[in-house]
Structures are given as structure tokens and as C-alpha cells.
């Protein structure tokens, strides 16, 4: 009886080991190199009524060689300051990064007046891949509306 209970205990342990192994050794991939944020149509009107509409998080994480292009889109009918750029209606701003670093941009949309883009190096080692996947999970929980 005891032996059977012990056998059941091994199942979650083994599942965890396999999961961590997969996270560390499976090749990392994303659907697109672009991390896209868009101001939807009607945002200016919503803000005018006093609604607090936050589209860009104050911190954006990118990964070199994997997802290293920030793509901002203004789909509203008026010009909008979006992160570091003033975008005309229907205009996009495509900003590529080639060096892993932390970039600060002036951004009036945030209380701090700044937006940070963290560009991390490509996760080449198993430990780095594990960290990269863990960070994506944490970011998706912290910023559920942000594309990962």
C-alpha cells in the first residue's frame, strides 16, 4: 500500500523534471520578430471621456535574434504619441534592436515619464532558455493584455 502511494508521488516529480528539461533544451522560437502594440480606433475619444487607457507597458522585454523589433501602430483617427514616437493616423513605427541592453525612452503616457525597453541576449544555453521561458510566463501573468 505504502509502495503504491510512493509510486504516485513520482508522477508529479517526473512531470516536473520532464517539463524543466523541455524548457531548458527545446529550441526557442516565436511566431514573429516583431512585438506589436497598437492604439485601437476610438482611443482618443475614450481618453477624452476620462477613461484611463494604457496600451504600452512601462517595461517591454525583447530578445535579440528572436523577437527584437518593436512595432507600434496607431489605428486611431488622430495623431498619437506612442512610446517614443508621434504617429499619424494609420502610421506604424518599426524600431529594430541589434544590441542587448536597456533602453530608456521619454514617454508621457507613463507616470514615470519613461518607457524602458530591455533587449536580452539570445538564450543560447539551457539555463538561459529556462530563464527566457520563465520570464515570458511571468510577463504574461503581469501584463495579460500584452503580446508575448
Amino acid at each position: 500500500m505504502k509502495r503504491r502511494a510512493r509510486a504516485w508521488l513520482w508522477i508529479p516529480v517526473m512531470t516536473g523534471v520532464v517539463g524543466v528539461g523541455w524548457a531548458a533544451f527545446a529550441p526557442v522560437r516565436v511566431d514573429t520578430r516583431e512585438k506589436v502594440f497598437a492604439i485601437p480606433e476610438g482611443t482618443w475619444a475614450r481618453r477624452r471621456t476620462g477613461e484611463d487607457v494604457e496600451i504600452l507597458p512601462s517595461q517591454i522585454r525583447l530578445t535579440l535574434g528572436l523577437q527584437d523589433v518593436l512595432l507600434l501602430k496607431n489605428r486611431d483617427t488622430v495623431p498619437q504619441t506612442f512610446g517614443p514616437a508621434l504617429l499619424m493616423p494609420g502610421q506604424n513605427f518599426r524600431l529594430p534592436f541589434e544590441v542587448a541592453s536597456e533602453y530608456q525612452f521619454a514617454c508621457t503616457a507613463h507616470a514615470s515619464g519613461q518607457m524602458t525597453v530591455i533587449v536580452e541576449p539570445f538564450p543560447a544555453s539551457p539555463l538561459a532558455r529556462l530563464g527566457w521561458r520563465a520570464t515570458r510566463v511571468i510577463d504574461s501573468l503581469r501584463y495579460p493584455d500584452t503580446p508575448t
Binding site: L70, L95, G113
Partner: protein, 201 residues
């Protein structure tokens, strides 16, 4: 025989399709060069202005049509960001060699109280004698900043003050279109790469 001619025709179709798609890809690449700066898509006309210049008199952005304009905003008492950016731009201009004459750096002050045209001339000459500084009335400069989405906020420090400001450089092509924005911290070679692409269009 009939089979052979059919196969030959099909081969020609395939070859034509490959050549056409390759040409299409080249054309697309030619339309949208991969700049290292952040690119505005589609580009809009760069907002125009005419301001008192360090070269004397008024200078309008339109005067520099046919050149690639690198437009920045800052102030002469800036402790770090402006000197770094201007040094990078001066270095980039040197590396452009014979193409340097086709590039114009314009620096608009965010501190018109202290930055007269003369003061800007003396300051910018230390980096590159061809750089042009622009000043003007505070309201006039605020309009130019708003048109480019540039932030500038005065911060009092004891008896003096500093100005926190956007630090990117705007790239305007020879037709006067606002094409891109280079964030602070990029290298002279990044500017050389992008300016050459814009000049060679």
C-alpha cells in the same frame, strides 16, 4: 516529343515565376530599405519650420531639401546626452567622407532662454563647424517640438535649472519626408549606414 515540349514549357514557366518573385523581392527591398533607426511607415512630410539660426538670419527646414537632414533637440548646457549625441553625429559625418556634404545636422534648442544663436554657434563649432543650431521664441519652439512629438521639461536645480528632453535624432530624406528616428545611444556607424541608404535611394 509532345511530353518534352510540355516539360520544357513548364520549366520555362517555373523559371519565369522564380525570376519574377526574386525581382519582386528585390523591388520590395528597394522600396523599404532596412534602416537601423526606427522607421515611420508610411513616411509623412517632415513638419516644416523657419527659425533664427546659428549661421545668422532665419533658416527653414525646406532650405535643406536635396540633403539628408539629421534633426535633434537639446541645449548647450546639457551635461551628457547632447554632447554624446553631437559627438556621434560629428563622427558619423567624418566617416561619410565625400558624402558628408549631402548631410545636414540641425539642432533645435529646448532652452531658448540661455541658447542664443551666437551661443549655439560657439557650442556646435566644437563638434562640427557645419552643424546648424536653431533657436527662437519659447512658443514657437514648443510648436516645433509638438509637431515632432518631442518632450522637454524644465527642472529647477537650486538657483539654476536643467531641461529633461527627448534624445532621439530624426532622419529626414532628400524629399523632405520624415523617414526614421534614431534612438539615443546608437553608434556613428549606424548613422553612416542609414544616411548612405537614404542618399542612395
Amino acid at each position: 516529343m509532345a511530353y518534352d515540349s510540355f516539360s520544357g514549357a513548364r520549366m520555362r514557366h517555373w523559371l519565369l515565376a522564380i525570376v519574377a518573385s526574386f525581382t519582386g523581392m528585390l523591388a520590395m527591398a528597394a522600396e523599404r530599405p532596412a534602416l537601423k533607426a526606427g522607421v515611420f511607415e508610411p513616411p509623412a512630410a517632415a513638419p516644416g519650420f523657419s527659425l533664427p539660426a546659428s549661421t545668422g538670419g532665419q533658416q527653414a527646414l525646406a532650405n535643406y531639401r536635396e540633403k539628408v537632414v539629421l534633426l535633434g533637440f537639446g541645449f548647450t548646457m546639457c551635461p551628457e546626452v547632447c554632447p554624446t549625441t553631437l559627438a556621434v553625429l560629428a563622427q558619423a559625418r567624418k566617416r561619410l567622407g565625400t558624402q558628408a556634404d549631402q548631410v545636414q545636422v540641425l539642432y533645435v534648442t529646448v532652452d531658448p532662454e540661455r541658447d542664443s544663436a551666437e551661443r549655439m554657434r560657439a557650442y556646435l563649432r566644437g563638434f562640427d563647424p557645419t552643424f546648424v543650431g536653431l533657436t527662437g521664441a519659447p512658443d514657437e519652439l514648443a510648436i516645433v517640438r509638438a509637431q515632432y512629438g518631442v518632450e522637454a521639461e524644465r527642472k529647477n536645480i537650486g538657483n539654476s535649472y536643467s531641461v529633461a528632453h527627448s534624445s532621439s535624432i530624426y532622419l529626414i530624406d532628400r524629399k523632405g519626408m520624415l523617414r526614421a528616428m534614431m534612438p539615443y545611444g546608437r553608434t556613428p556607424d549606424d548613422y553612416v549606414h542609414d544616411v548612405r541608404l537614404l542618399l542612395n535611394e
